[in-house]
């Protein structure tokens, strides 16, 4: 069934979510993640604020995925595809299917990443915040985050001029994090109202690639789901409640779609009207 057909009957969705929809979707998302993505630790739901006694009232919360290690091996070229993301505890387990490069190079550094998906009541979408730090807990400077990133498809690099990272404070946790923002119309990164201050273009493109890696991991979940449900990617969006943030919007969907062998146009056309390009923060996927 054509996705356009499928969505025609659905209630038009403007790309936003309520807080409750976010909470429900987050729970479903983390269940699916657990099912299909064994090499990653699970996403945890953190309610906040924590001090309420009124259990009858639904609390806000956010999803967290913490202490994901980015293991760098000395053999890995930057353009060699993705660096391996490992759950820290897996490193010592010999029987886990491992990135072989880490075995070759006994001394590896690991940069740690904490990912949080938090609901933004202003934009009514989930937003990704993340923090990266060395093994000793010291935060990574943005320049180091850039180095962590693998080279990626030319398309992502092209699209990367639209996206940049910015530092913002975590809405709940009083600590500086990194989040993604998108400019409209490829506005330059000068400090004017249309664009924004960010890293160098070079750094940004590499960052987006890494974020692309993260996103493609998530898309792997969808792929797995496709196989499980024995349906085409076209239909997958109908069948699973999945909510995720991507500050890259439509270009990411196109790339992920290409990877899954789906016609470019189907995704972008059907997503028009679902992803409002005026937003600086986007949703990837949609809820039932």
């Amino acid at each position: 069934m054509d996705l356009k057909e499928a969505v025609k009957d659905k209630i038009p969705w403007d790309g936003t979510l309520s807080l409750n929809e976010f909470s429900l979707s987050a729970s479903t998302f983390s269940d699916k993640w657990k099912m299909f993505n064994h090499s990653f630790p699970p996403w945890l739901w953190n309610p906040c604020p924590k001090h309420h006694l009124n259990s009858s009232h639904k609390v806000e919360g956010y999803l967290s995925l913490e202490n994901v290690c980015l293991v760098k091996s000395c053999e890995e070229e930057k353009n060699h595809g993705s660096l391996s993301w490992k759950e820290e505890s897996n490193i010592s387990q010999a029987e886990e299917p491992f990135d072989h490069a880490t075995l070759v190079c006994p001394e590896f550094e690991a940069n740690h990443y904490d990912f949080h998906i938090v609901y933004s009541p202003s934009y009514r979408v989930p937003v990704l915040y993340f923090r990266s730090y060395y093994s000793d807990g010291q935060p990574l400077p943005l320049s180091e985050i850039e180095k962590d990133l693998p080279g990626h498809s030319a398309e992502l690099l092209l699209e990367s001029k639209w996206t940049f990272i910015t530092q913002e404070e975590h809405p709940y946790l009083n600590r500086p994090c990194v989040t993604l923002m998108r400019t409209l119309n490829g506005a330059s990164h000068e400090n004017d109202f249309r664009g924004g201050v960010g890293c160098s273009i070079h750094g940004i493109s590499k960052f987006v690639s890494a974020y692309g890696t993260f996103v493609t991991e998530l898309w792997r979940v969808l792929e797995g789901l496709c196989m499980e449900l024995e349906c085409q990617f076209d239909n997958i969006m109908e069948h699973i409640p999945l909510v995720l943030v991507a500050a890259m919007g439509v270009p990411t969907l196109r790339i992920a779609a290409m990877r899954l062998g789906v016609n470019n146009n189907t995704i972008s056309n059907s997503q028009q009207g679902k992803v409002n390009i005026d937003h600086t923060i986007y949703i990837l996927g949609h809820t039932l």
Partner: protein, 351 residues
């Protein structure tokens, strides 16, 4: 612009700024700098006044300015007036702050590279407010270069006239201003864009950008001098949530109503229903009750009471119409910043 807005823009906090002793390399140490900081401004923008004052005594190195109050590093993107209202409930005049030019606590504070960072934060907030009010950021994105420069310049210099001229082009009015004498008296009622005949005339938008800084106490206090000190940002809940206005609210929707609507976890019956969701998570009728089982033994419930709401250094009566508060007391980036203290106590449900 109204009288109240003029007062807000002229509002300033007298600061006595001491250089941190670790950065003093000369004897005698330099005297503190006395600065009048605009309420609607931001602390890092004071560097142009402070650097010359302290430069002779600073150790060699690169300057990254940051401030602290009684050991608490201050978040630079919060307007100065809000920081003062939040951290200095019993106003200290002058407000004694410590400035650092080295040793930036980057695990605690977002990086700040001078005026550009502050401008960026301001613009981001403005875009967010525009999004909350209109559903998109187009009007900000489409500003001309001159307008952009004029807007930021007017904030830097505290020039309300210049600001009003540029900001009116943005068309970010939230409420019609019925309660204040307005310089531009041409009625805009006839230009109501809403086609809905039932819409209450006053409300042009349904979401108002608000930033609420909440702290709670368990016990009463009479004087702010006795109030617990905020020595840690974890003691403040930062709530960046728009106030949702409904057609049924009418023009007497008060400040009290707005605060309660922003805090459904403390004031459950005030929440008017979540956005189109099934009501599975609605709290039971009375404030704070968990269940109505008469047979159960004592339930502890939380009773919350608004102790204080401070906006632009004043504590408006909670009965003031919220529309007046928003129109007159908001900051230049269209956010209304409110410092709220709640008294939260436990009580038995079966009283």
């Amino acid at each position: 612009m109204s009288e109240a807005q003029k007062y807000v823009w002229k509002g300033a906090i007298p600061l006595q700024i001491h250089l941190h002793e670790s950065e003093v390399t000369t004897l005698p140490p330099p005297p503190p700098a006395l600065v009048l900081a605009p309420r609607i401004g931001y602390l890092p923008l004071l560097i142009s006044l402070l650097k010359p004052h302290f430069s002779a005594t600073l150790p060699p190195g690169v300057d990254t300015i940051w401030f602290e109050y009684k050991g608490l590093p201050l978040k630079w993107y919060i307007p100065t007036g809000v920081l003062f209202d939040l951290l200095c409930m019993e106003p200290e005049r002058p407000w004694n702050l410590t400035v650092h030019f080295r040793g930036y606590p980057s695990n605690l504070l977002l990086p700040c590279e001078g005026e550009d960072s502050v401008k960026w934060s301001f613009i981001n907030s403005l875009k967010e407010a525009a999004y909350v009010i209109t559903g998109n950021c187009k009007n900000i994105m489409n500003m001309s270069q001159t307008d952009q420069a004029d807007l930021w310049g007017s904030v830097l210099n505290g020039n309300l006239e210049s600001y009003s001229r540029v900001s009116s082009k943005l068309k970010l009015e939230t409420f019609e201003d019925e309660y204040t004498e307005n310089v531009d008296s041409a009625s805009t009622k006839s230009q109501q864009s809403t086609g809905d005949a039932e819409a209450v005339g006053q409300v042009k938008t349904s979401r108002i950008p608000v930033r609420l800084y909440l702290w709670t106490v368990n016990e009463d206090f009479d004087d702010f001098e006795d109030a617990p000190v905020i020595d840690n940002w974890d003691k403040v809940s930062y709530i960046n949530r728009p106030v949702e206005i409904h057609k049924e609210d009418g023009k007497y929707f008060s400040l009290n109503d707005a605060v309660k609507r922003l805090l459904p976890e403390y004031f459950p019956e005030s929440s008017f229903g979540n956005e189109g969701d099934a009501s599975i998570n609605q709290s039971a009728g009375e404030e704070g009750e968990n269940s109505c089982d008469p047979e159960s033994s004592s339930h502890t419930v939380e009773i919350a009471e608004i102790k204080c709401v401070r906006i632009q250094g004043i504590e408006p009566s909670l009965e003031v119409p919220f529309s007046w508060v928003v129109n007159n007391l908001m900051n230049p980036e269209y956010f209304l910043h409110m410092c709220v203290c709640l008294k939260v106590s436990e009580a038995n449900a079966l009283q």
